[in-house]
């Protein structure tokens, strides 16, 4: 009997947590499909006639469309280049420079300690002089600081978990260092590395401050979303909700993937 009660209680608490966690998201998603009068009605409506007008408005709005496009371009470029530079660097740190590894890793992490404002203002001046202020290229460049450092920080332990003997066995078969990295270290560490990339992606996808200060005209989606919320009294709630859904979707999908990956890793156990 006691067991039953505790089971019920556990479920109730878990259920409560889920409502708290998912409630706002659910409400936003619902709001994205409502017309304005369904949203501003004093009695909240759970059942309503869904509409795609809000999404249509967004995708027809050139500012938001460009924001979405800019976000995709800037974030994928920054993450891609960050991975290309950061992953081999992490492998080298993990395997060949262990004695400086901790120092380098801490230096890399310390780049993240600095408040973005502190670098944003000097970057405005530098970028104006270089003529890359308000360009996507400039934004990618500054995001690289974030992506390269985060990728290195997360990939070093991923490579350290690859058993050294596997790389040695490959060397015994005649593989050179590059081949060992490409055919063994990388595939064996791939699940953890994928997690690192997803995390990095989410980090820059949500970035607002640097994007706001360095590329106000070529704005990314967070900047556009922020500007919609300051429209004044005539707030287009439905449109805002739809924009939020659009903004949240990629990170959510990625985090879903990440969780699935973590689960399989936990289940198969450490090797």
């Amino acid at each position: 009997m006691g067991k039953l009660i505790s089971a019920i209680l556990t479920r109730a608490v878990l259920g409560g947590l889920i409502v708290v966690a998912l409630g706002p998201i659910l409400w936003t998603v619902l709001g994205a499909f409502k017309e304005l009068r369904d949203i501003v009605t004093p009695v909240p409506k759970v059942f309503f006639e869904p509409t795609l007008d809000n999404f249509a408005t967004i995708l027809r709005n050139p500012t938001i469309r460009d924001g979405l496009l800019n976000s995709v371009i800037v974030v994928s470029a920054a993450v891609l280049v960050g991975a290309v530079l950061g992953i081999p660097a992490a492998h080298t740190l993990a395997r060949h420079a262990r004695k400086w590894g901790d120092d380098v890793q801490f230096f890399v992490l310390s780049l993240r300690f600095m408040p973005p404002v502190a670098i944003a203002i000097p970057f405005i001046v530098i970028y104006l002089d270089l003529g890359i202020y308000d360009t996507l290229f400039g934004l990618v460049l500054v995001y690289l600081i974030v992506t390269v450092s985060t990728v290195i920080w997360l990939a070093v332990p991923a490579f350290e978990r690859v058993p050294r003997n596997i790389e040695e066995a490959a060397a015994m078969e005649g593989c050179g260092p590059a081949e060992i990295f490409w055919r063994f270290s990388l595939p064996v560490a791939a699940p953890s590395l994928f997690g690192a990339l997803v995390f990095t992606f989410v980090l820059v996808w949500n970035e607002l401050l640097l994007a706001l200060t360095l590329a106000a005209q070529n704005a990314t989606l967070p900047v556009v979303a922020a500007s919609i919320t300051s429209l004044g009294k005539e707030v287009p709630w439905g449109v805002i909700n739809a924009a939020t859904v659009l903004l949240v979707l990629p990170p959510l999908v990625f985090i879903g993937l990440l969780m699935g990956l973590l689960n399989t890793m936990v289940r198969s156990g450490p090797k």
Binding site: I166, E168, A171, M172, E173, G174, F184, V188
Partner: protein, 361 residues
Amino acid sequence: MANISCNDIVKSYGAHPVIEGLDLDIPDHEFVVFLGPSGCGKSTMLRMIAGLEEVTGGRIAIGGTDVTDLPPGERGVAMVFQSYALYPHMSVADNITFGLRRQGASRSEIAPRLKQVAELLGLEKFLDRKPKNLSGGQQQRVAMARAMIKTPQVFLFDEPLSNLDAKLREKLRTEIRKIHMQLKTTTIFVTHDQLEAMTIADRIVLMRDGRIEQMGTPDEIYERPATRFVADFIGTPAMNFVSADIAAGDRLIAHGEGMTLELSRSAFPDLAPGQRVELGLRPARMELCTPDTSNAITGRVVLVENMGAEGQVITEVAGREVSFVTQSFRDLSPGDPVSFTISPDHIHVFDSSTGHSLRRN
């Protein structure tokens, strides 16, 4: 197949030397075991022959070719690791054939060889599985198949059985030995288990602190240990050591710690009266006797350890413990007075300061 020769090998990590000037020659076809306590440099030595560690000084030649500066893949050696080191992202078949595929061997060339090694090691059923779905013993068989398929000049085994349970270890040990009898590939096998070394080796290289303490066949190592360290390291139960003084007289007699033992004059012609020595008495070479037998040691039983076919009897002789092995251990119980004897031919004598054996022939 090839002989291996190591010439004045030095290895140091920073200022800390691990191996100082080691010379070693291994003839073709031989199965050699590097044996020693952990930290004696046996694995380092193996890894230097494999090419996974650089030598600080000296030269290594395999089959007459100087391989000291060659990368591991060009030395014609294959290695089996303690942790198996299978490629987790490849199937068993891909693990085994990776080296051949990398060398660009054709499919028609690889298939029969894969079939052959898979049969030899009983892996036919597992070829499509991933390594993580195999047991430890099966994984180690895959690692051996991977080493074997390339028909290398030399096999290197780095404590390959240490992660397996006792029964499986024994089984695989026999299999490795059988495979060596069939293929006759020169093999170096590293272990810290003296029983494993005794059973599997043509020759044992017993190492200590980066030096070779003794090199010889298992019989030589067991019957004629060159030093007290070797005598102590080899054999279970471990050898008894007794401090003694050589007495004056016609016969060669040693007195010490409640024992009076006659030694073999022909084996130890150099012993002089009054000399301080250490006697080594193997428990397995002693037997029960009556108190008036020559070389009888008399004491009191402390403990009897049943090992099945025989038993180890731990006795107290003049305040110290001496053990011996007998089949009639079931007649003894703690507290009983007991006498046991050892033939002069089986007594080892070591210099009490250097630990070197004083045996001359």
